[in-house]
């Protein structure tokens, strides 16, 4: 009984020794060569393991190479220091030849750059396009309204004169006149085309509302604090001029204050005219409530809070909500200007 036990013990010790030998840390480091076509582990100048990527997956794998290198390291199974070397250029060409791999660097770079472009895109890109279209549409509506006013005014100036807003005008435009008028006699076809044009104008207005609602929806998801503090459209315009959420988040509030007034700013720098007080912020809803002389000060207050909102929105990815405090601050400060 005792003998057997001893024997067992010895056996156990032996296997332990073996394990220790295996686990011994190697002095020579393992070198992982990272290439656009796969990973290669070298130990003592010998290739010990390789993982070659398929051509159509190469760019994607290279893009997430850090992850794959970790995985690959665990598979090599040698206890040693690991070094990673990326190889490229003429060294890469030689290496590919040695490993017998056909590799098209240009095609790889195209696919890799595509992934980089994709990874750089985010929701704010859509907001920028939407608000730019919104702005352009707004201009188009105003221009078309002006033209149509003149056009229909040839026929019934007395009625056009009475309308003050675009909505009022759209109510009467294209209607047949009654009573005396100093207008020109229109034929049926002259009047008809005005009717068709005004219908187009109406549909442009309804499109503008749709886009506006859309911007509000997307903005309150991606930039909830900015949406409350700046307003959806004003916030979106700021993002657009800054060139993205990240850039806006990195801007000082003094820059945000005059975003949209670049022309006036450069005129100031070049010719020494007065510097602008506000740009896009002029269309902020609070601006209308403040006396003209105080608008510069309000722009300063708003931009200070908007810059905070933009940072919170960008870095918390729209998760943290702090707009209540910011609005309170704004209202408090308005009382003092």
């Amino acid at each position: 009984m005792k003998k057997e036990f001893k024997h067992k013990k010895r056996k156990h010790a032996k296997s332990k020794e073996k394990k220790r030998a295996k686990k011994q840390v190697e002095r020579e480091p393992v070198v992982i060569k990272v290439t656009p076509f796969g990973l290669f582990a070298f130990h003592k100048n010998k290739l010990v393991k390789k993982s070659i990527w398929k051509e159509n997956e190469a760019a994607e794998n290279f893009f997430k190479r850090d992850e794959l290198i970790k995985e690959f390291r665990s598979k090599v199974g040698i206890r040693a220091k690991y070094e990673t070397h990326s190889i490229f250029g003429s060294e890469l060409e030689d290496f590919a030849k040695k490993q017998g791999i056909k590799f098209n660097f240009q095609k790889f770079m195209i696919e890799f750059t595509k992934l980089k472009i994709k990874a750089g895109l985010s929701k704010d890109r859509i907001i920028i396009q939407a608000v730019n279209t919104f702005e352009e549409l707004n201009k188009m509506i105003n221009m078309m309204y002006e033209k149509l006013r003149e056009w229909y005014g040839l026929y019934w100036p007395e009625s056009v004169e009475k309308t003050k807003t675009i909505d009022e005008f759209l109510e009467i435009v294209g209607k047949r006149r009654d009573g005396q008028s100093m207008g020109f006699e229109f034929e049926e076809e002259d009047l008809e085309i005005i009717g068709v044009t005004s219908e187009e104008l109406k549909s442009m207005i309804s499109l503008k509302e749709k886009i506006s609602k859309y911007i509000e929806k997307v903005m309150s998801k991606t930039a909830p604090n900015m949406t409350k503090v700046a307003g959806a459209i004003v916030g979106a315009k700021l993002i657009s001029i800054a060139g993205g959420m990240e850039k806006l988040a990195e801007m000082p509030s003094s820059t945000i204050q005059i975003l949209g007034a670049e022309k006036a700013l450069f005129r100031h720098i070049r010719k020494g005219t007065k510097p602008p007080k506000y740009g896009v912020l002029l269309s902020h809803e609070l601006m209308k409530k403040v006396n003209l002389k105080k608008r510069g000060k309000l722009a300063r207050i708003l931009s200070a809070k908007i810059s905070i909102a933009a940072r919170v929105d960008f870095y918390s990815k729209g998760r943290d909500i702090i707009w209540k405090g910011l609005l309170d601050d704004i209202n408090e400060k308005i009382k003092r200007i």
Partner: protein, 224 residues
């Protein structure tokens, strides 16, 4: 129509009343920028518009002969949509390569479509102020730089180590991207002074009437 060789390799003079320059299309039939083409002797020439490309403008202004040739590897900083780079690609041909660096994803999107057709154009989305991002391209024979940044000279210095001995550089400088308030001639003099420390200035040409307030320098690295 008369097509003759110019003093620059791979660039041809097309005379049809007006003088124009052109390159031989590497991918016949493919004109991504709706550029004019001229066919003669089985070859398709792409007209290079000096109003759209600073290098074409510099050539029209008769800048000194530069060393760019077939088979060269070229580093192109600020390639944008690849319009000018596509002509460089024609010149270096299939044996050469044009590494097109730009930081803006939007223009790189357009460049990718061009590179998919022109197989010697390598798109690289990277920042030219940080050459480490594309160190892998190795040495090049020629550098084109057209970046609208205030620190253009500094960027060139950081990228100069890519250039082989004897290689040349074409550098386009837009005075307004350095300082909008100063006089262009003052800025160009300042830039020239900065360049003179590290580069030999072979030639320089203002680009009027093709581009306002622009200058192109032809440079080589100083031998130390």
């Amino acid at each position: 129509m008369k097509i003759t060789k110019s003093k620059y390799e791979g660039i041809f003079l097309v005379e049809n009343g007006k003088k124009k320059i052109a390159t031989i299309n590497l991918v016949p039939g493919y004109t991504p920028f709706s550029e004019q083409t001229v066919k003669q002797d089985g070859k398709e020439y792409r007209i290079w518009n000096p109003h759209r490309s600073k290098w074409a403008a510099a050539i029209m202004k008769n800048i000194k002969k530069f060393s760019l040739k077939k088979g060269d590897n070229v580093l192109y900083l600020g390639a944008a949509s690849g319009q000018s780079a596509s002509y460089i690609s024609d010149i270096v041909g299939k044996e050469g390569k044009v590494f097109c660096i730009d930081i803006a994803p939007r223009v790189m999107r357009d460049l990718i479509f061009v590179a998919e057709k022109k197989e010697n154009m390598v798109p690289i989305l990277a920042d030219a102020t940080n050459p480490k991002e594309y160190e892998f391209i190795g040495k090049v024979d020629f550098i084109f730089q057209d970046v609208a940044m205030p620190n253009q000279v500094e960027i060139l210095k950081r990228n100069a180590h890519f250039l082989k001995d004897g290689g040349q550089i074409l550098l386009a400088v837009k005075s307004r991207s350095i300082d909008v308030t100063a006089k262009p001639s003052d800025i160009f003099a300042k830039v020239e002074h900065q360049l003179a420390k590290d580069f030999d200035i072979i030639d320089k040409k203002r680009l009027e009437p093709y581009e306002m307030d622009h200058i192109v320098f032809l440079l080589s690295k100083k031998v130390k």
